[in-house]
Amino acid sequence: MNTYVRPALSLALLMTLLTGALYPLAVTGIAQVAFPEQANGSLVRDAQGQVRGSALIAQDFQGDGWFHSRPSAGAYATVASSASNLSPSNPALAERVASDAGALYRTQQGPVPQALLTTSGSGLDPHLPPQAVAYQIPRVAAARKVPEERLQALLEEATLHPLIGPPVVNVLALNQALETLGH
């Protein structure tokens, strides 16, 4: 019996110590020194030091004066994150997309980009494709009474072009830039 029980128990405990305690502690130690910003959740603070969100977690922007985030199936809940899990054949998906498109559609701008009509995988997608931001520019410009060209310039500045992924815009950062612009 001892041939199996002792090694099984002691190795289970030793592996717990090594991989379950020492390894995460080592990663935390190094990460907190090398990348403290990211390791603590990429928090965004205002001038007073108040946490205003995380650069990586979408916020629920409402109203005409802000750029809206990707739609969220979980109403931007962070605990717990969730997705719609609607199948492509589910009539509920087609109905939702059609009704949202009806609300957002502007004849002079053409069809509404998919990113504004579909919920993201996490419900917390912090990004939008540039064209989905551009579609919102006339609305935001009118509400804030700023020329569209300025918002267009802001968008171009905020667009990230990773070599291996689609171009994206961080919506929170863009809206923060709006705040400085508006006043």
Binding site: G20, A39, L43, I57, S89, V112, G165
Partner: protein, 564 residues
């Protein structure tokens, strides 16, 4: 497809294929106890483990002893994890004061992580404490992968050795796999991920006041360390509920590349490890060519399918482009499809887009990848041992065709070996078709389906396929967290794991005991394009054909009904 899509695919294949020969040799040296550049650091730790556990590293085990050791270790791991999950409410490092898991969920979770499946009936940030994530789940992420690697090298030794009763020592193999095989790579990947934005902290969840002035809780935790092993160990269990779609698990296109490549980095390398065991790298190349072909066929189909606009959304007001429901902007279609194909080919099961919302044929590729038994690279160790079974079956079939006793690398395959092979062939059908059919026939369990029509059937089919194949991904709308499904998918995972491991270790023992016949002119060569083709056909016929009717009822029916 844009230029960045091609850049992603190119970078992925380079990261995965270039280091494989070197890494494969490294795994061979490590598992055979040879000195590597890590020995000065990890050698003393390894020896310390053996001393404390009372293990004699030079004492080898026969296949029965090896199996008993493996089962004892997995049982202890299961009991520890089960206890931690039940009792986490009373344990420290639980800043959110989360209660213990309900018993059937805790059973399902514990089985899931011990069997390297990482099916999740819960949402991490809402129901698992930091302590459970680290001391419970992270540990099983490591040792379940190490167990897979141990079984693989036992089988490799069985094929390579002659006239011997022993296959190595499970305690030693498991320890070496964890210490040298997984920990160092995880440390590197974890830090790369933190750099890209994955949190790694023990602090409480953060509280923010959003730009528009509402309250927002920001979940944190020691995520990077767990995500690294969840990818490298082909586990797939997310730190957060929506897995690698969560921006904290996978913050950028670059983290996406690192994580998706990590899924098959080790499984690809292990194909070369096998070549070193049998002292014939041509065998490795033949197997690799077969795996790569299956991967590319599935990958190309899925890419094509997912770039088609969904006809159900056709309207002049809606942009007609590749569907984005359930996908993240930063990954786009190609980054999501590459992940879907890789995670299902490799028994990983993490997701960066919601598989439930994929176009029907993309979802079907994911299911086929699992149904053939997770042998397209597959899990750490598990993928290649599954593939070697198909190699032996292909050799057996070839033997029947030319009317000779089939032999593989000098080992004759006789009645006992073929019986064991057939036993493993029954695992997927029993788990998927039998358990799946029972669930589909009972009104209670069938009610877990959340989408109407053919897709609803696909959800149930996917769940039992994923469980039996030890994958862990899901059509996640499926309401699996019920006592029935927790227990039955738990059972499917156990069948899928040990239904392979036990016959394989018996097979390894039986092969090791055989004398080696010299390979002559009449031996059927098991390298080169002819054998690769035969292997490919064997996998598709034996592994895939069984499930064709279910695929017709699920994804194919959905595809046709949508009128693509």
């Amino acid at each position: 497809m844009h230029s960045y899509d091609f850049a992603l695919l190119l970078a992925f294949f380079l990261i995965v294929l270039l280091p494989a020969p070197w890494l494969g040799r490294f795994y061979y040296k490590v598992m055979e106890g040879q000195r590597t550049w890590l020995s000065p650091v990890l050698g003393p730790v390894e020896q310390g483990c053996y001393r404390l556990a009372g293990v004699r590293a030079d004492q080898e085990q026969n296949w029965k002893q090896y199996t008993l050791a493996l089962l004892a270790f997995n049982l202890v791991g299961f009991l520890l994890l089960f206890a931690v999950l039940l009792l986490q409410g009373y344990l420290p490092l639980n800043p959110q004061h989360l209660p213990g898991q309900e018993w059937s969920l805790a059973f399902n979770t514990a089985v899931s992580f011990v069997t390297n499946t990482n099916w999740q009936g819960y949402s991490g940030e809402a129901s698992v404490s930091y302590l459970s994530q680290m001391l419970g789940l992270t540990v099983q992420n490591f040792v379940s992968a190490a167990t897979g690697l141990a079984v693989l090298v036992a089988l490799c030794r069985g094929i390579a050795r002659r006239s011997t009763a022993t296959l190595g020592n499970f305690w030693v193999d498991m320890t070496r796999a964890t210490l040298y095989g997984l920990l160092p790579l995880c440390l590197v990947l974890a830090l790369l991920l933190v750099w890209q934005g994955v949190p790694q902290t023990f602090a409480d969840y953060a509280h923010a006041l959003t730009l528009q002035g509402s309250e927002q809780t920001i979940p944190l935790g020691p995520a990077a360390s767990q995500i690294a092993i969840k990818q490298l160990g082909t586990n797939g269990g997310g730190f957060f509920g929506v897995n690698s779609a969560h921006p904290f698990e996978n913050p950028s296109a670059w983290s996406n590349l690192f994580e998706v490549a990590s899924i098959i980095l080790i499984p690809v390398a292990l194909v070369f490890t096998f070549g070193h065991y049998v002292k014939d790298l041509r065998q490795s190349r033949a197997i690799l060519a077969c795996m790569l072909s299956l991967f590319l066929i599935g990958g190309a189909t899925a890419l094509w399918s997912e770039h088609q606009p969904n006809p159900a959304l056709e309207s002049p007001q809606v942009q007609q482009s590749a569907p984005m429901e359930g996908k993240e902007s930063r990954f786009g279609t190609t980054g999501s499809v590459l992940w879907t194909v890789t995670t299902t080919a490799a028994s990983n099961g993490s997701v960066n887009a919601m598989h439930d919302s994929l176009n029907p044929l993309t979802g079907m590729v994911a299911m086929v990848n699992m149904m053939v038994g997770e042998v397209i690279f597959g899990g750490v160790g598990a993928g290649l041992y599954g593939m070697l079974l198909f190699v032996l079956i292909a050799v057996f079939l070839a033997g029947l065709m030319i009317g000779r006793t089939p032999e593989y690398l000098g080992k004759k395959l006789q009645a006992r070996e073929v019986q064991l092979l057939v036993a493993t062939l029954l695992v997927m059908p029993v788990g998927v078709l039998v358990l799946g059919a029972v669930a589909a026939s009972l009104p209670g369990p069938a009610a877990a389906v959340s989408n109407p029509g053919a897709h609803g059937f696909s959800q149930l089919l996917y769940a039992y396929t994923s469980g039996t194949a030890n994958n862990g991904s899901a059509f996640a709308g499926f309401g699996a967290n019920t006592v029935y499904h927790n227990l039955m998918i738990g059972l499917a995972m156990l069948i899928g794991r040990f239904g392979y491991i036990l016959p394989i270790l018996a097979l390894a023992g039986s092969l090791a005991a055989k004398k080696s016949a010299p390979q002559g002119l009449n031996s059927f060569p098991t390298h080169g394009p002819l054998f690769t083709g035969l292997l490919l056909v064997t996998i598709l016929l034996v592994g895939g054909l069984t499930f064709l009717p279910t695929l017709a009822l699920g994804p194919i029916a959905e595809y046709l009904s949508l009128g693509f």
